[in-house]
């Protein structure tokens, strides 16, 4: 079943065309990666799906209502004067969840020790884990992750990959934007490569690497991207 899709979507900001006829679809129970450098239009696509902005043209579809979507964005939107736990309690009460679930998710992201610490006093990595906990709290059907591990150390990032895979096993769709090719290679079932508002490649990471002779000892999506665009990722 198609979980989210876009067909010929275009979007401009002040004359600058950010998306130029973007078409793709992601399916239930899939980790779908969107790769591209900063400014490629990845966040704009999330904003369109989450109804924060409207596209200028084209069709787009999300199969679930907004309260069944989990979000982890560049701007974390945390209540900085509240503790980590209190931040989650706000959403626990909105969704009508049990406290045990909140405590469980805090443990899963490794924040139990910092539960009573004010958000203002958390490190960047801890804040990011808290944002992920908030996104996962209500076991969303679709999860949008915008650069989810950009500020994390490798060990924490791996823990987060585990949580994302668990959610996929439970049938959720994960839409992930990243410019970390290794992350996309190891985590995503399928990817699209976005460059200057256009999709330039699409498919499972391994197939893409095979197609472009980039299967070295490991799949090398970065060299595929450089080959296709003539430039690297910032």
């Amino acid at each position: 079943m198609v979980s989210i899709s876009m067909k010929n979507v275009t979007k401009s900001f002040g004359g600058n065309e950010v998306l130029k006829g973007v078409t793709f679809e992601a399916h239930d129970g899939e980790i779908f990666g969107m790769l591209g450098p900063s400014g490629a239009g990845k966040t704009t696509i999330i904003n369109i799906f989450t109804k924060q902005i409207a596209a200028d043209a084209g069709e787009w579809h999300v199969s679930v209502p907004s309260n069944e979507i989990g979000l982890m964005l560049e701007h974390d939107g945390l209540f900085v004067n509240l503790s980590a736990l209190d931040n989650l309690i706000v959403f626990e009460e909105i969704y009508g969840l049990a406290r045990t679930l909140t405590l469980e998710i805090m443990e899963q992201v490794g924040l139990t020790q910092a539960a009573k610490t004010k958000v203002n006093d958390l490190s960047k990595g801890m804040r990011q884990r808290l944002v992920l906990a908030r996104a996962l709290l209500h076991k969303p059907k679709i999860l949008f992750l915008d650069e989810p591990t950009s500020a994390l150390d490798p060990v924490t990032a791996r823990g987060i990959y585990g949580l994302i895979r668990d959610l996929r096993e439970a049938g959720s769709t994960i839409f992930l934007t990243t410019h970390n090719m290794e992350e996309a290679t190891h985590l995503c079932d399928r990817i699209v490569m976005l460059h200057q508002g256009r999709i330039i490649e699409e498919g499972p990471p391994k197939e893409i690497c095979e197609k472009h002779n980039a299967l070295k000892t490991t799949q090398d999506l970065e060299s595929v991207f450089i080959k296709l665009t003539g430039g690297g990722l910032q």
């Binding site: 924060q52 907004s66 309260n67 964005l73 939107g77 309690i89 706000v90 009460e93 909105i94």
Partner: protein
């Protein structure tokens, strides 16, 4: 209901984490008491009486002074409800928009009305205690107390909705302070000047802060140009207009940056 309760608790905790913000709710009743205690009308009457003027003129001056002397509770309550609260609410909303918190609440299914009720109820609760403080300072009891509290809380609701609208328009705390403060000053101080000038009073008559002033004056002096329900009707009409304005602004600008 879940959402309103969650936002209410969140706002209460956030306010508790910033105890400095509570000073607004204490200082105005305290000022009303202090200023009221400082003004010694007996001495002023004696000073007038000592002036080398004809007796009838002195009598007129004393009467004029006593009738135009603003009641400190009326004055501070109007400034509190009009000027104090609008920037507070505008800042709360603008802060949540600026930090993108409202985006996550909105995605979680929190409707703007639920958010406004949750965040606004905290301000209303705190303002309720401030209003009780005013009633104690002015010694309003029984029916007078109920009328005063009704007028105060109606004005507070008006300021909450107006503050929320300004918060949405501004979208960041700095701009919210910049825009809400002059509007709040006009609404807070306008009725004070209206006590001294009939033309100003006519200009401010359609505003809820002026009607709060009229009701508080009625409770102190026992007379009013219009019946009480007239003032309450104007206040509630103000609230209805402000709710419509809030809805329009929300629909046009949304709560997401």
């Amino acid at each position: 209901m879940n959402a309103t309760k969650a936002i209410f608790k969140k706002q209460l905790k956030a306010t508790g984490a910033n105890p400095e913000s509570l000073i607004q709710f204490i200082i105005f009743p305290l000022l009303a008491w202090a200023l009221g205690a400082m003004i010694d009308t007996d001495t002023m009457v004696a000073d007038f009486a000592a002036l080398p003027l004809p007796y009838y003129l002195i009598d007129t001056l004393i009467q004029e002074m006593q009738s135009s002397m603003p009641n400190m509770v009326t004055m501070q309550a109007t400034i509190f409800a009009g000027m104090g609260l609008i920037p507070v609410v505008a800042a709360i909303i603008a802060d949540d928009i600026e930090r993108k918190s409202l985006r996550f609440l909105s995605m979680a299914g929190v409707k703007p009305v639920a958010y406004l009720l949750g965040a606004g109820s905290v301000v209303l609760l705190l303002a309720f205690f401030s209003s009780m403080g005013f009633t104690l300072v002015d010694r309003f009891f029984g029916r007078d107390m109920l009328i005063f509290m009704g007028a105060m809380l109606s004005a507070v609701v008006g300021s909450i909705v107006l503050g929320a609208t300004l918060g949405i328009v501004c979208r960041n705390v700095q701009a919210a302070s910049g825009l809400s403060m002059p509007i709040a000053m006009v609404l807070g101080f306008g009725p004070i000047f209206a006590q001294l000038n009939d033309r100003v009073a006519r200009i401010f008559n359609p505003f809820y802060t002026q009607q709060l002033n009229v009701i508080a004056d009625y409770l102190n002096l026992g007379t009013s140009a219009n019946p009480l329900w007239h003032s309450f009707a104007i206040m509630w009409a103000n609230i209805a207009v402000l709710v419509v304005l809030f809805t329009l602004v929300y629909r046009k600008k949304g709560i997401v940056q």
